[in-house]
């Protein structure tokens, strides 16, 4: 038994014997890798462990009790909702307690005030369907329909639909947070009354503490309940159809429609995004990376490579596909109006509409993130920025250039400059850089590229969302702070004085660089004194 019999007994008294196990077979089932998001890389191999014990609480009160026991007996722990976010959401130290939150799947929906209250075990596609049944919708983040809605809201999941209704953290309402010492913090209107309808509450807004920018992976506590704002949708049903793997939502094209446009240049795509925003039309927009189309077309891995191997630097450079979502939220007339305006904009810029299937496979209910593993078996997004469109485009191009130095081991992509889109009606630009590799070959170069992107951001003054636990805190903290790292650790010390909540996050990547010999030569910054 990895944890003492005494601790085990106390934990058993909290949840019952059926929901607690330290059996090696059960614990092995919670291994992070060898595959998954960012898995199979050095970070996963060096930094993750299987848990010493797994517990499945049902209520917030049980979570509080578990955390208090951990503090009393100095047992490190990590909260875990679906395990989807790769090694960073798994155990990092020996004899750790993994708190699996999947039983906490309570769900309530308030149709009148347009919000849902979810537990940590509720995933996005469940939430989306419940919302759509009632004429509302939410964004299923690109991370996938299988994400815990709470975890992804904290981690800031987004999609092309963020163009219209913005970033997730704007939709976090009343929230329950169990602090690392077991104290319960109720945020927003929950702080005042038993009603989570509003995000703001007494005193400073603590929601930022939940996430840093892209999530702190539980190192500052465990969110057990969250009210999430839903947005009004149109009234017609998006009907599921087809047999796996060819399933899709049939769109009522009088109210919901995707349209693909061939555009003359990348600049013209950016112009289109701005002009759409200026005209206040559209429900979603994105540039389509060419390899996504290859994935969608391919019936298997081998066919993907047949398709992909016919591409070249020229075809990639000249491929400009813009995908626009129109929704007649208020009426069919709105839809018709927006389509006419959109066509005027695109025509003026020199784009051309392509025949587009009246279906949705990837964004409303099913975010196809799992398909990212089809071609190589290894995938991670090395960086994403949320700044301006002017910022997003050169960010991707810059990375494409840097990537050449690390290809192989990275998959050859003929200089593809990543993915960009517009958020919040053109007020923000988004760039994401996805990389793929063969996990059964030496992947040291992928680890190095991941870190090098962080340095490149600092050198070239690109903003990044991957702060906190996703890169060495002492590399990014001084650059973006200048005291980001100090504040981060001060907050951590205050909230988690025993450093038990998912150690060594937020210093995990710092520790990884120290431990991995192929990373150590890259360290040209002053590191932390890790004492706990």
């Amino acid at each position: 038994m990895a944890i003492s019999k005494e601790v085990y007994k106390v934990l058993e008294a909290i949840v019952g014997e059926e929901y607690l196990s330290s059996d090696p077979v059960v614990c092995e089932g919670y291994r992070s890798g060898p595959s998954g998001y960012e898995a199979g890389l050095g970070y996963e191999r060096v930094m993750t462990k299987i848990p010493g014990c797994v517990i499945l609480p049902l209520t917030t009160e049980e979570v509080q009790k578990i955390v208090r026991v951990c503090n009393r007996y100095k047992v490190p722990y990590v909260p875990y909702s679906t395990g989807w976010y790769g090694p960073r959401s798994h155990c990092h130290v020996d004899d750790e307690l993994l708190i699996d939150l999947k039983r906490m799947d309570d769900f309530e929906i308030d149709e009148k005030h347009l919000y849902a209250v979810v537990g940590s075990g509720v995933i996005y596609s469940q939430l989306q369907e419940e919302a759509m049944k009632r004429g509302m919708y939410i964004i299923v983040g690109g991370g996938g329909s299988q994400c815990s809605a709470i975890a992804n809201m904290i981690g800031d999941g987004w999609s092309p639909l963020s163009y219209r209704i913005g970033l997730p953290h704007r939709r976090i309402l009343g929230t329950e947070l169990v602090l690392p010492d077991g104290e319960l913090v109720e945020m927003g209107s929950l702080a005042l009354q038993d009603d989570p309808f509003w995000g703001d509450g007494l005193g400073p807004d603590l929601r930022g503490l939940l996430r840093g920018f892209t999530g702190l992976r539980g190192c500052l506590g465990i969110v057990t309940k969250m009210a999430i704002k839903l947005m009004p949708f149109q009234p017609e049903r998006l009907e599921p159809a087809g047999i796996s793997p060819h399933t899709s939502l049939q769109l009522p094209v009088n109210r919901v429609k995707w349209i693909n446009f061939t555009m003359p240049s990348k600049e013209s795509m950016k112009t289109a995004m701005f002009e759409m925003a200026r005209a206040e039309i559209g429900a979603g927009v994105t540039k389509v990376p060419i390899f996504w189309r290859a994935i969608a077309k391919a019936s298997c891995k081998e066919e993907y490579w047949d398709i992909w191997s016919k591409e070249s630097e020229e075809t990639i450079r000249d491929f400009h596909l813009l995908r626009v979502l129109l929704v007649g939220f208020g009426s069919e007339e709105q839809m018709e109006y927006e389509e006419r305006v959109l066509n005027d904009i695109i025509t003026e810029i020199g784009g051309e509409a392509r025949r587009t299937r009246p279906t949705d496979e990837s964004w409303f209910k099913n975010a196809d993130s799992a398909g990212m593993w089809l071609m190589c078996g290894g995938y991670v997004s090395v960086d994403y920025v949320i700044e301006t469109l002017e910022h997003a485009l050169p960010h991707g191009e810059n990375y494409a250039e840097l990537k050449k130095k690390f290809t192989p081991p990275l998959m050859p992509d003929y200089g593809d400059p990543g993915w960009f889109q517009s958020f919040e009606l053109g007020h923000q630009g988004y760039s994401e850089f996805l990389v793929y590799w063969d996990p059964d070959e030496n992947t040291d170069g992928v680890d190095q590229f991941y870190l090098e992107t962080s340095k490149e951001n600092i050198r070239k003054r690109f903003y990044t969302s991957l702060l906190g636990p996703h890169q060495p805190l002492y590399l990014t903290g001084p650059a973006y702070g200048p005291n980001y790292h100090k504040w981060m650790l001060a907050v951590k010390d205050e909230f988690d004085p025993n450093f038990l909540s998912h150690p060594p996050v937020p210093l995990a990547h710092d520790e990884f660089v120290e431990k991995a010999e192929w990373m150590r030569p890259m360290k040209d910054w002053e590191g932390p004194q890790i004492t706990k």
Partner: protein, 431 residues
């Protein structure tokens, strides 16, 4: 084998090292296809992970555990055997995974059981008892072999020789004679002559399912030879488990393709659907029921035909020659529904989880024998789902499903009728 020579041979776990090591924990094996996600209720399709909750009971956990077994990092224990066997092998995980990826999840799970048996640790004691009955008495109940044809009644016409051979199977022969009789009478009514095996033995479904590959293969050879001797062009089954065993598992065990069997393997629903569409069979008598259809796993997502394959895995995990993955797409989904819709008076209502997303009844692949509580729990979940759509009856295409549903309905006082589809077809012919 991560790279190099590889095949689909389930007797060598090495063949599935790549598949087990590439599970990304998206849990597509656990949740229903997100396109079909119905909300917070009825949202999972893996009975094992839904019941036992720990990740080790989902395919995502089992792939990691399997890899540890392959690498010699995992000792056998009661918990390990429970993890391997408290699983319906229903294929939900396989089709879920293959919606996006090319990983052989079902075959990995089968290979793990075969390894457990080879290592002298599997199957479960209850499985061994049933295996003994199959070997000694040629049926899984241990009933006297000479009673195998007792289901036959005088009004059923059986041909001495015919193109169609009806393989009755242990369940319909011994404990569900109503299914065998209905099937035979339907064929009589359609004017389709059929014969029976001179000495029908158990198909060995359970032997294969629990990993007893040597015994299962021996039985497969014997049965295949026996059918070939009859000269039948079509082997007809009314049991979904038997259908899968003949169509998929026999070719898999004998390293041949389904089309190399020398005859077509057909389920009753395929044949009846065709007969109705050719107007050779008319369903005229009303059956006034609001009913729902349960997709038996072995007729639906597990029934894509088998083709042996061996080759090499190289860069990016690509294999050569080309491998057409079995994704559950060509299962028998529509025919039973068309039949039910053709019955006057029937109002067919779909459950939330249907077709490739259906929730297994819990009976098959050795589950009921070794984990009866789990099998009953799964059936209870499904019956509850049927009730929520307002069904008066649930219809299956497999005696295993019918039996499990009927038993649980009786035990729990569930006011839901349980039928095999053959009974309803016959009712609409005879009234």
């Amino acid at each position: 084998m991560l790279k190099g020579k590889v095949s689909l041979d389930v007797t060598n776990l090495d063949n599935f090292e790549y598949d087990m090591s590439k599970c990304i924990k998206c849990k597509g094996c656990y949740w229903v296809d997100h396109i079909y996600m119905s909300g917070v209720n009825f949202s999972t399709r893996c009975p094992s992970a839904t019941r036992y909750m720990f990740d080790s009971y989902g395919a995502y956990g089992k792939m990691r555990i399997g890899l540890a077994m392959l690498e010699g990092r995992m000792e056998y224990s009661d918990e390990l055997l429970k993890t391997l066997y408290a699983c319906t092998l229903c294929g939900a995980c396989d089709v879920g995974c293959k919606r996006n990826l090319d990983l052989e999840i079902e075959l990995s799970l089968e290979a793990l059981r075969i390894k457990a048996v080879k290592d002298g640790k599997g199957p479960m004691p209850e499985h061994k008892k049933v295996a003994r009955k199959i070997i000694d008495k040629h049926n899984r109940f241990g009933s006297p072999y000479q009673n195998r044809n007792q289901w036959l009644t005088k009004d059923i016409k059986v041909a001495a020789r015919a193109d169609v051979l009806y393989f009755v199977g242990c369940s319909a022969a011994y404990v569900n004679p109503e299914i065998a009789r209905a099937t035979a009478k339907i064929l009589n009514a359609a004017g389709t002559p059929f014969m029976l095996m001179p000495d029908e033995w158990c198909c060995g479904n359970m032997l294969y399912s629990v990993g007893m590959i040597d015994e299962a293969r021996e039985l497969a050879r014997r049965n295949l030879e026996a059918v070939r001797k009859t000269g039948a062009k079509t082997l007809l089954l009314s049991c979904a488990e038997g259908y899968r065993t003949w169509k998929v598992d026999y070719p898999k065990m004998l390293n041949i393709s389904t089309e190399d069997l020398g005859f077509k393997v057909v389920h009753l629903t395929e044949m009846v659907d065709e007969l109705i569409k050719q107007e050779a069979l008319k369903l005229t008598k009303p059956v006034d029921l609001r009913l729902t259809y349960h997709d038996s796993c072995s007729l639906s997502r597990l029934s894509d035909p088998w083709t042996p394959w061996k080759g090499e895995r190289g860069k990016w995990g690509m294999v050569s020659p080309c491998l057409e993955r079995r994704r559950g797409s060509s299962g028998i989904y529509q025919q039973p529904r068309d039949i039910l819709k053709a019955i006057p008076g029937v109002e067919l209502v779909e459950m939330v989880r249907m077709k490739e997303n259906a929730f297994c009844c819990g009976a098959g692949r050795g589950t009921q024998e070794a984990f009866p509580d789990f099998a009953a729990w799964a059936a209870e979940q499904r019956l509850f789902e049927a009730r929520t759509v307002g069904a008066e009856a649930i219809v299956a295409t497999c005696p295993w499903c019918k039996d499990n549903f009927a038993r649980v309905a009786k035990e729990t006082g569930e006011n839901l009728k349980v039928y095999d589809i053959s009974e309803l077809i016959l009712a609409s012919i005879e009234g």
